[in-house]
C-alpha cells in the first residue's frame, strides 16, 4: 500500500500544480505584497515609500470615514443577506412546485444574473429619480405620495442600493436552492404530511433544516458579495450623499484609485480581508452545529 500512497501523492500534487501556480501568481503573492505595503507610506513621485510601522493602522483607527463605511457595510450586509436568502428560498420553493407558468417565472428570477450591473444601475437610477422616475410615477398614481428623493437622501440612499443588490443576488442564489431541493427525497415530505404537519411546519421542521448546507454555502457567498458588489454604487450614488451609501470596497477603490494612497488602501484591504476571514470562519462555527451533512 505504501507504494500506491506515494503514487497518489505525486498525482495529486501534479494535479494541483497548474491551479496553484495561477493562485499564487495572481492572488497570494499580490495579497502578501499588499500586506507588506500596509506598513509603508504611499510612494509619491519624488518621495519613495518608507517604512512607517503601524502608522497606517493608527490612521485607520482614527478615520471617521472608515468607521462610517464600516457601519454602512454592516447595515448593507444585514439588509442584503437575510433578505436575498429568504427571497431565494421562496423563489426556489415556488419554481420547484407545480406552478402555472413555471419556466417564465424562473426565467424572470434569473434575469438579473445575466444583465451587467453597470448597465442595470442606470435603469435603477431612472426608477429612483424623483419626479418622473418610475417609483415616483407609480407611487404617486397609486398612493398619491409626493416625490421621494431615494438616492439623494442619506436616510434612504443605502437602502435603495440594498434593494438593487437583493434584486441582483436573489435569483443567483435561487439556483443553488433549487438544486438542493431536488435532492430532498419526496418521501420525507410525505412522511411529515402523514404525521399531520402543515406546509408551514414541513418547511420549518424539514425542508429548511435539510437546506442548511446550501444555506451555509450561499450565506458565505452572500457575505463575500456584500463586501464585493460595489459596481452599481458608482452610478447610483457615487457613495454619497456624504458617504451615506459608501461601502468598504468602494472606499478602498476611492482611496486607491482616486486618492492614489496605495499604502493606506493596502491597510484598508488588510482590514477587509481580516474581517471577511473572521466572518467566514465565524459562519462555519456558527452553522456547523446546525448543519446536517449527508
Amino acid at each position: 500500500m505504501r507504494v500506491t500512497f506515494k503514487r497518489d501523492w505525486i498525482h495529486s500534487w501534479l494535479l494541483l500544480l497548474p491551479a496553484m501556480v495561477f493562485l499564487f501568481a495572481f492572488t497570494h503573492i499580490p495579497a502578501v505584497t499588499t500586506f507588506i505595503n500596509s506598513f509603508y507610506s504611499t510612494p509619491r513621485g519624488r518621495r519613495p515609500a518608507k517604512f512607517i510601522g503601524l502608522e497606517n493602522y493608527e490612521r485607520l483607527w482614527d478615520d471617521p470615514v472608515f468607521w462610517k463605511v464600516m457601519f454602512n457595510n454592516l447595515w448593507f450586509a444585514l439588509g442584503t443577506i437575510p433578505l436575498s436568502i429568504a427571497l431565494s428560498i421562496a423563489m426556489a420553493l415556488w419554481v420547484n412546485d407545480k406552478l402555472a407558468g413555471r419556466s417564465l417565472v424562473r426565467m424572470a428570477y434569473f434575469t438579473p444574473t445575466v444583465l451587467p450591473l453597470i448597465a442595470v444601475a442606470n435603469i435603477w437610477l431612472f426608477f429612483y429619480t424623483p419626479g418622473f422616475g418610475l417609483f415616483d410615477q407609480v407611487f404617486g398614481a397609486l398612493f398619491g405620495w409626493s416625490s421621494t428623493n431615494w438616492l439623494g437622501d442619506p436616510a434612504t440612499a443605502l437602502n435603495a442600493v440594498i434593494v438593487v443588490t437583493v434584486w441582483k443576488e436573489a435569483g443567483f442564489f435561487m439556483i443553488f436552492y433549487l438544486a438542493a431541493l431536488q435532492a430532498i427525497p419526496v418521501s420525507l415530505v410525505e412522511a411529515a404530511r402523514i404525521e399531520g404537519a402543515s406546509r408551514w411546519t414541513i418547511f420549518w421542521r424539514i425542508t429548511f433544516p435539510l437546506l442548511m448546507p446550501t444555506t451555509l454555502f450561499v450565506s458565505i457567498n452572500a457575505v463575500i458579495n456584500s463586501f464585493r458588489l460595489v459596481d452599481h454604487i458608482f452610478i447610483l450614488t457615487d457613495g454619497g450623499p456624504d458617504n451615506a451609501s459608501s461601502l468598504l470596497l468602494f472606499y478602498i477603490y476611492e482611496v486607491a484609485f482616486r486618492f492614489w494612497e496605495t499604502g493606506y488602501a493596502a491597510t484598508l484591504t488588510v482590514a477587509l480581508l481580516l474581517l471577511l476571514s473572521a466572518l467566514a470562519i465565524g459562519q462555519f462555527f456558527f452553522f456547523d452545529r446546525k448543519v446536517h451533512y449527508k
Partner: protein, 273 residues
Amino acid sequence: MSWSGPTLDRVLNTAAAWTLALLWILPLAYAIWTAFHPAAYEARFVLTAPLTMDNFAKAWSAAPFARYFLNTFVLVSLILAGQFFLCTLAAYAFARFEFPGRSLLFSLVLLQLLVMPDILIVENYKTMRLLDLVDTIPAIALPYLASGFGIFLLRQTFMTIPKELDEAARIEGASFLGVLWRVYIPLAKPTYLAYGLVSVSHHWNNFLWPLIVTNSVDTRPVTVGLSIFSAIDSGVEWSVINAATLMTSGPLLIAFLLFQRQFVQSFMRAGIK
C-alpha cells in the same frame, strides 16, 4: 406534492410568485421599452408610442461592437476553458486523494474566495507588464483562471459521486486521468453547466480590469464599449444605454432562454441513481 385542488394556499402562492417575477423582470422590461422607443418616451409609457430602431443604430455606431463581441467571445471562452481545466484537476485532487498538505492547500484555495482580484489591480498590472502581456486577451483572463469558487464547487460535486464508479473504472483498466475523464467529468456535467453560466455572465460583464489592462480595439470586450454611454457629462440617455445593454447582454439572455430548460433539468438530474 401532487394531490390537492386549487386551494387558497396555492392561489396565494402562485400570485406571490408571479408578483415577484414581475418585479424582477421590471428592469429588463424597461430596457426593452426604452430601447425601442424614441428618447421622449423614456419616462412616459403610452401604448401608442412610435417604435424605432434608431437607438440601436446609434449605440452600434458608437463603438466597434462587432469586434468587441468577438473579443468578449474569445475572452469568455478562454476563461471558461482555463477555469474548467484548472479547477477540474485541482478539484479531483482534493476530492479523491489523500496527500500531505491537503488541508493547507485547500484553505489557500478558499482564500481566493475572499481576496478579490479587483483589489489587486495594480499588482496584477505589474505582473502582466512583466510577462509582456499588456493589451492582450490572455492578460484579461489570467487572474481569473484559477477560481477558488470553481474548485470548491467541483470538489463538492466530485465527492458526491459514488466511489464504486471510480473503482469500477479502475478495474476496467482506466488510469487515474482516465477515470477523471470518463467518470467524474461526465457525471459532473450539471455542475459544469451551472458554473459555466455563472462564470460567463460574470466575465461577460466585467469592466474595470479589462479597461485598464487593454488599449486597443483588438482586445477590448463589449463592456468597454458599453461604458461609453454611462457616466456622461451630458446626462443619461436611457434609450441609447438600454439599446446598448440589450445588444451586449442579448446573447447571454438568449443563450439562457434557449438553455434554461436543459440547464434547470440537468440540475434536477444531478442526483445519481
